[in-house]
């Protein structure tokens, strides 16, 4: 599904160059439930953005569903994003002047689905996430957990192969965090690959696979030992 080979990424700020990702190798298969951990500034969000084609990388190769993702045009990237990827952000990123249903339906607009049909589908997804009666509410009338569920519905509506979640529980209390994780777990049960970036250990431990970006920008898989460590404590 996802093949990263020796990915490098650095940010240029004035005269300084900040080398964030130093040769990342990563393989994620269809249906995996993966978390990527790391301390602040370790480059985990950068990695997720590269995975989601929101950002480009300097060196290496990235294959998504067998396609090489490299120096592609904005238009093509947009098409891939629309077809393959659903995003869930820490700050929800709902469009403030659209109600819940319209927000959820928006990806289908870019797929060319007619208005009535996409609003119907959006209602289905909202119902699945228990937000049917909130369909006509604006984002600022909803709680953080509700907003994140709307965002998940929006990510799911285009039936993507991968859900990329950037700190999906970062702005939520622990109870709602667990609710959101339950939802993502169910999404994964339907066969969709879910990749979560987080710095919270308890959130990461709910996934099947944990990768940690350690200080030198390398990736390490340590799910088993980590869970055992938690159990000992």
């Amino acid at each position: 599904m996802i093949r990263l080979n020796n990915i490098h990424k650095s940010y240029v700020m004035g005269n300084n160059s900040l080398h964030v990702l130093k040769g990342i190798d990563l393989q994620i298969e269809q249906g995996d439930f993966v978390s990527i951990m790391g301390s602040s500034g370790s480059g985990k969000s950068t990695l997720l953005n590269i995975l989601g084609m929101l950002d480009n990388y300097d060196n290496g190769t990235y294959h998504l569903s067998g396609n090489l993702i490299q120096n592609m045009s904005e238009k093509k990237a947009a098409k891939y994003r629309n077809d393959l990827v659903g995003f869930v952000f820490q700050s929800f990123n709902l469009i403030s002047f659209k109600n819940a249903m319209e927000n959820v339906a928006l990806p289908l607009y870019y797929k060319g689905v007619p208005r009535k049909k996409r609003n119907l589908i959006a209602m289905e997804y909202l119902e699945k996430l228990g937000l049917k009666e909130w369909a006509n509410h604006m984002p600022n009338e909803m709680s953080g957990g509700q907003k994140q569920r709307v965002a998940i519905a929006r990510a799911l509506i285009s039936q993507p192969k991968i859900i990329l979640a950037d700190e999906p529980t970062g702005a939520l209390d622990s109870a709602t965090s667990y609710e959101v994780m339950d939802i993502l777990k169910k999404v994964n049960d339907d066969g969709i690959t879910v990749i979560i970036v987080t710095h919270e250990h308890d959130i990461a431990s709910m996934t099947n696979q944990i990768h940690e970006i350690i200080r030198n920008g390398e990736l390490k898989q340590f799910k088993k030992s980590y869970t055992r460590g938690l159990e000992i404590v």
């Binding site: 929101l54 469009i95 002047f97 990806p107 607009y109 870019y110």
Partner: protein
């Protein structure tokens, strides 16, 4: 382009962002509205003054006599100049002179019909005067050449005099006594731009014979064929030279004969109006530029404000072209609609002003002097001005929209 869904998306965005829509629309509508009022007022003023000139033939000229003020060929100043019938023939021979008529004023003459009587000015003239002064015949005819040749005792009276003397009865064919001499009424006329139609016109030859005018003329009225100021001044100089030779005065002597050249006046006034029009256009263009700057400003803010939204849209699969299209079509739609509203309001107001002026002027509109007439704007100019604003709004929106659409979605998403 004509994707209904796209328009629905745009309409939904407009509906939810009323303030932004209003501000963009207002600056366009206001610009067009002000332009319409400015140009309309300018046109109204220009049309009004032009119409006043049309009361007489635009190319009319009047010549009257005075006393010499410059010594000439040994003769002292203060010598009175008198026109005689042959002076008209001399003037008529000057190239560029159209029609001409000699005039002999009789001052207040007493008109009586049955028991009614009144004193009116009698102008004795030739048939050509009708063309010089644009006289309007309400009934009957004007003095004709046969009247002149046969020295007929006929008269054309002003419409007010007719009412005073004849009341409601028919005047044509009746005889009025003028200074106790009977004259047959052959026509009733009005003068354009006059509210007192009390002048009477009678054949020059008849008047000179009956009222002892011999061959004297008081003044000459004529039309000239000239299209420029220079041409009309050349004709004026030739007339002065010809009359100067006849009466032995310096052609430069402004006192010997007086001369009023309507064309010269008309051309000069129109020049002033051209200057006023240029001035109005400068202000109008200034207003348009203010509108363009306003639209550009708002579009810049709109794009800035929507950066995050653009990021979200791109993250869920919007192509850069669709993002630019969304912003541009919205801006074009708002500016077009607002431009149209400004156009309708502006022309509507000018039409209203026009209507009320016509109302207050009443039935005397043809007669009275008006300074403001038909204050409307060429619809092409209005449409071009609106198009200009739409294009300006589109360009002003395109540049930042393109920039916003081409930045990485991740950067746009970070924008708070």
């Amino acid at each position: 382009m004509f994707d209904i869904d796209k328009w629905q998306e745009i309409l939904a965005t407009i509906k939810k962002n009323k303030m932004r829509t209003f501000l963009t629309g207002f600056s366009v509508a206001w610009g067009i509205f002000m332009l319409m009022i400015l140009l309309g007022s300018g046109n109204g003023l220009s049309n009004g003054v032009a119409a006043n000139f049309m009361n007489d033939a635009v190319n009319a000229m009047w010549i009257w006599t005075g006393e010499t003020t410059i010594p000439y060929e040994g003769m002292k100043t203060g010598r009175p100049i008198r026109f005689q019938n042959q002076d008209q023939e001399i003037v008529q021979k000057v190239p560029g002179v159209g029609v001409s008529s000699g005039r002999y004023f009789m001052g207040n003459t007493r008109y009586s019909y049955l028991k009614e009587s009144g004193e009116y000015t009698t102008i004795t003239c030739q048939p050509e005067l009708k063309d010089v002064e644009n006289l309007i015949l309400n009934e009957g005819r004007f003095i004709n050449q046969i009247d002149i040749l046969q020295k007929r005792q006929v008269v054309v009276i002003g419409s007010d005099s007719k009412t005073a003397l004849f009341k409601d009865s028919v005047a044509l064919g009746e005889f009025v006594n003028i200074n106790k001499v009977p004259f047959k009424v052959v026509g009733i006329c009005t003068e354009p731009g006059s509210t007192r139609n009390r002048n009477a016109y009678m054949p020059l030859s008849t008047a000179q014979m009956i009222f002892n005018g011999s061959n004297r003329l008081h003044n000459l009225a004529l039309t000239i064929d000239a299209s420029t100021l220079e041409e009309s001044q050349a004709i004026e100089d030739q007339i002065r030279n010809a009359l100067g030779r006849q009466h032995k005065f310096d052609p430069k002597d402004e006192g010997a004969i007086g001369l009023y050249n309507k064309l010269e006046n008309y051309i000069q006034t129109m020049k002033i109006f051209q200057a006023i029009k240029i001035f109005i256009w400068i202000i109008g263009i200034g207003t348009l530029i203010a509108g363009i700057v306003g639209v550009s400003n708002i579009m810049l803010i709109v794009v800035k404000e929507r950066t995050k939204e653009i990021g979200i849209r791109k993250a869920i699969g919007a192509s850069p072209a669709s993002v630019i299209g969304l912003i541009l079509l919205e801006s074009i739609m708002i500016t077009t609609l607002a431009g149209y509203i400004g156009l309708v309001l502006g022309t509507g107001l000018m039409e209203l002003v026009n209507y009320f002026m016509m109302q207050s002027a009443g039935p005397a509109t043809d007669q009275s002097e008006t300074i403001f007439l038909n204050p409307t704007v060429d619809i092409n100019i209005a449409v071009y001005a609106t198009l200009l604003l739409i294009v300006a709004g589109a360009i002003a929106g395109y540049i930042p929209a393109k920039r916003a659409a081409s930045i990485k979605p991740i950067v746009a998403l970070r924008d708070e």
